[in-house]
């Protein structure tokens, strides 16, 4: 499922990114790679706050919906 559907507080594993290559690379640099644990720790009107590798990352809804987890 897409990251947008993950309830607040839950931890999932990243399986796929369906966006463009340069954004994919940037997300990898920030720690969002296949097989990584990702937790939704905040929800705002703009998007989600994620915890990944101990760092809080904010991303907008459109981007969050491109990240596939299970």
């Amino acid at each position: 499922m897409s990251l947008m559907m993950v309830p607040l507080g839950e931890t999932k594993i990243v399986t796929e990114f369906r966006g463009k290559d340069d954004m994919k690379r940037h997300l990898q640099d920030l720690g969002v790679v296949k097989g990584e644990k990702i937790q939704v720790v905040g929800e705002t009107s703009s998007g989600l706050i994620l915890l990944i590798k101990g760092v809080r990352i904010a991303l907008n809804r459109g981007l969050a919906s491109l990240i596939i987890v299970n």
């Binding site: 931890t11 966006g19 290559d21 340069d22 954004m23 994919k24 690379r25 940037h26 997300l27 990898q28 640099d29 920030l30 720690g31 790679v33 296949k34 097989g35 990584e36 937790q39 720790v41 905040g42 929800e43 705002t44 009107s45 703009s46 998007g47 706050i49 915890l51 590798k53 101990g54 760092v55 809080r56 990352i57 904010a58 991303l59 907008n60 459109g62 981007l63």
Partner: protein, 741 residues
């Protein structure tokens, strides 16, 4: 022997703090990703032969934003003697990702394990010896903020710079990737057997090969067509064995290596998610419903502290910004009096140059340097504590509707202070489209230098109206115009989707006073320097052009004037001739006369010059004769009330009392009569303010624009857009305004 040491690390890893500690320099340290938007140079304070460079923060050597490209280019092309890689110990997994990539370049490296105090207080342990053995480079624990471990770090860095040890070969990649990298690097070396040493070629080829397997477009574009085809063949082959994506595979392998490393060398007291204080604050500040109201209150407070004349809604209480501005103006006034006394007997030309040119010119801008400073102190506070990153995120939803990312908010906000740092801040934006559009619309913001224009015109022409409301309407107009222009450019010029928003949210920190003060000063410095140089020179130039004409130099003036003065009347000057030639262009906007025209042009030197110029060009309106006539209507008691000592009319005090008391309050109906001959109606006055607000910014900001957009063509297009927008909006304002009135 001289060494060059480059500091590289993730944003927020403490790089700039380390740089300041090492160089003793007063660089600003922010809690906002992207504080170092350009590389900064310093000298090690304990050894002047060591040069230290602070590179922009970067997450990897595959650059994503413009500032990251600066960091990569420097490391790869300029090859510093040693790179100090700063790693945030509290965030070691993500930070080591860059460490591995720097190691791939084989540039000598020392790892500075920063924030060791916070690591300890969390109850975690980092074994730097073990890390050193795994990574094959020195790993030194430090606390950049209090200087702990820095001597050892520098000693190690110098040793590495001297010895240039060959880094250890790290077993990061699997067989498939390693084979592809080796095959490509052999391919690159083959045709490259020129004179430089084989070793150097092979290290560089190795690094390039890794980047090529990662599909790096920048490296790929340097290859010949033949070679690119050969490389692509190898990469495609490797992709078959890597689930179709070598780039993701490499990232994955790096992180696997890091996880193994961290498991060996780092002991964490707590596993998994622990709600920190930062998270609790975020629950409120980024809350779906509270975020915007809280943000609005903070913005209101920021502007009130800076600009409010009735601070905290108390009638007549100046805000800190306004109070400081008054203080500065007072001091400048006393200084002017002293100078006046000193040169009272000088020749008329010299006296006029100093008093009318320099003192009056600089005096007009002295008053708002404190305003800009206070505004930037507050912006710095918001940046340093970490709130700015949240505002950008919260604003993203709104900005997205106008085709911009929330990150554009910061440059625009800074535009309220000064356009130059604002334009430079666009470098942290991800896409070129966002950078270009934000740069263009930043110029529409009512920067500190435009405020005197509003103050002068609003108090002169709108004295009977609600002055705050009129000024406020200009602020609103600038924002509306910025939105509309952004929408138009998005729709008709770029036609591309808005780039996504992704940003690290740093932990909230209480900023130190020192850091905020440095930050505020850093930003206001450019502004003050501009005032001291560009404006100084241009005031003299304007004085020259407005007081002389051709007859000054062929003896005609000297012969005609009784006392042999060669200066000309202003409406007969060089400036008047040029202004008269251009003025008709502005007829449709309501101010097609030479003096307002000249005002617009000098505004491009610096916006504050508009007021300075008009004050110089219309000085008949506040001449001693006029003032004496005006004050003669008052009796002694009234004069005392107005501020004259003992109710005695005093020529020297009259000017200040008139401009600050009478003129600004709009009590003299016949005030500025010559100016009102040129700008006749309120509609024309408003149109003049609008044109100056929106048209091309000052040359300093245009220069910054050129630096960011990297092309004269784009810069020209940006300025063209601004001029066209200003003309259209001012025209509409004047036409509609004239119809209503």
């Amino acid at each position: 022997m001289d060494y060059v040491i480059a500091l590289a690390g993730n944003p927020n890893s403490g790089k700039t703090t380390l740089f300041n500690e090492l160089t003793g320099s007063k660089q600003h340290v922010g809690n906002w990703p992207g504080v170092t938007v350009d590389k900064k140079e310093g000298v090690y304070k304990k050894d002047k032969n060591i040069k230290i460079l602070d590179l922009p923060g970067t997450y990897s050597l595959s650059p994503y934003s413009a500032e990251e490209i600066i960091a990569r280019d420097y490391i790869v092309k300029n090859k510093p003697d040693v790179v100090i890689n700063i790693v945030d110990g509290t965030n070691i997994e993500r930070n080591l990702y860059l460490t591995l990539q720097i190691a791939e370049t084989k540039i000598p490296m020392v790892v500075a394990m920063n924030m060791m105090d916070e690591v300890e207080s969390q109850g975690d342990k980092i074994d730097c010896e073990k890390l050193k053995n795994i990574l094959g480079v020195p790993v030194i624990p430090i606390v950049a903020r209090n200087g702990k471990g820095l001597d050892k770090l520098m000693a190690e860095a110098v040793k590495v710079a001297k010895d240039k040890p060959l880094g250890k070969k790290l077993e990061v990649f699997d067989e498939n990737i390693s084979n592809a990298v080796n095959a490509i690097s052999e391919l690159l070396i083959e045709s490259n057997n020129d004179s430089s040493s084989v070793k150097a070629i092979s290290t560089e080829a190795q690094w390039k090969a890794i980047k090529l397997v990662e599909n790096d477009e920048i490296v790929s574009s340097t290859l010949s067509d033949n070679k690119r085809a050969a490389v692509e063949k190898i990469v495609r082959e490797a992709e078959k064995n890597a689930d179709g994506d070598t780039e993701a595979k490499i990232a994955d392998l790096r992180y696997q290596f890091i996880t193994k490393t961290v498991n060996t060398a780092v002991k964490k007291s707590k596993k998994g998610y622990v709600e920190t204080k930062s998270d609790k604050i975020d629950k409120i500040l980024t809350n779906r419903f509270l975020a915007l109201p809280i943000f609005a209150i903070i913005m209101y407070l920021m502007f009130a502290i800076t600009f409010s004349e009735n601070f905290l809604l108390i009638e007549g209480l100046p805000s800190p910004g306004v109070w400081l501005a008054g203080l500065a103006e007072g001091l400048w006034g006393s200084f002017a009096d002293v100078v006046d006394g000193l040169i009272a007997n000088a020749s008329p030309v010299v006296y006029s140059l100093i008093m009318d040119g320099v003192i009056e010119g600089l005096g007009a801008i002295i008053g708002f340097i404190p305003l800009v400073w206070v505004l930037y102190l507050l912006i710095s506070f918001l940046e340093d504590c970490g709130y700015m990153a949240r505002i950008a995120f919260v604003m993203d939803r709104i900005f997205r509707r106008f085709g911009l990312s929330g990150r554009s908010f910061i440059p625009l906000l800074m535009g309220f202070g000064c356009g130059v740092p604002a334009v430079m801040a666009t470098r942290t934006l991800d896409s070129e489209k966002d950078r270009t559009i934000t740069t263009i619309i930043t110029a529409f913001m009512p920067c500190g230098a435009k405020l005197p224009i509003f103050a002068m015109f609003v108090s002169t022409f709108f004295a009977g109206n609600n002055k705050t409301l009129v000024t406020y309407s200009l602020y609103m107009l600038s924002i509306v115009v910025a939105i509309v222009v952004s929408l138009i450019l998005n729709k008709f010029v770029y036609k591309s989707a808005t780039s996504n928003f992704v940003m690290e949210l740093p932990r909230y920190r209480v900023p130190t006073i020192k850091s905020i003060a440095i930050h505020g000063w850093e930003k206001v410095k450019g502004f003050a320097v501009k005032a001291g140089t560009v404006i100084f020179i241009s005031t003299i130039l304007i004085w020259l052009l407005s007081n002389f004409n051709i007859n000054s130099f062929n003896g005609v003036n000297a012969a005609n004037n009784e006392d042999g003065v060669i200066m000309a009347e202003m409406d007969d000057s060089f400036l008047a001739s040029v202004g008269n030639a251009v003025a008709p262009v502005f007829k449709p906007l309501g101010f097609g006369e030479w003096r307002p025209t000249v005002g617009v042009a000098t505004g491009w030197i610096a916006k504050e010059m508009v007021v300075v110029t008009l004050a110089q060009l219309y000085d008949d309106d506040v001449s001693p004769e006029y003032l004496e006539g005006y004050f003669s209507q008052y009796n002694q008691e009234e004069l005392e009330e107005l501020g004259f000592e003992d109710g005695q009319y005093d020529e020297e005090a009259a000017f200040d009392i008139y401009t600050e008391g009478i003129l600004w309050e709009g009590e003299d109906e016949n005030a500025l009569s010559t100016m009102k001959d040129d700008i006749k109606t309120k509609a024309a006055a408003y149109s003049y303010m609008v044109f100056n607000l929106l048209c091309m910014p000052c040359f300093a900001a245009v220069g910054a624009t050129k630096r960011e957009l990297k092309s004269w063509k784009l810069t020209g297009a940006a300025v063209g857009t601004q001029m066209l927008t200003a003309y259209i909006v001012a025209f509409v304002v004047y036409t509609v305004g004239s119809l209503i009135a």
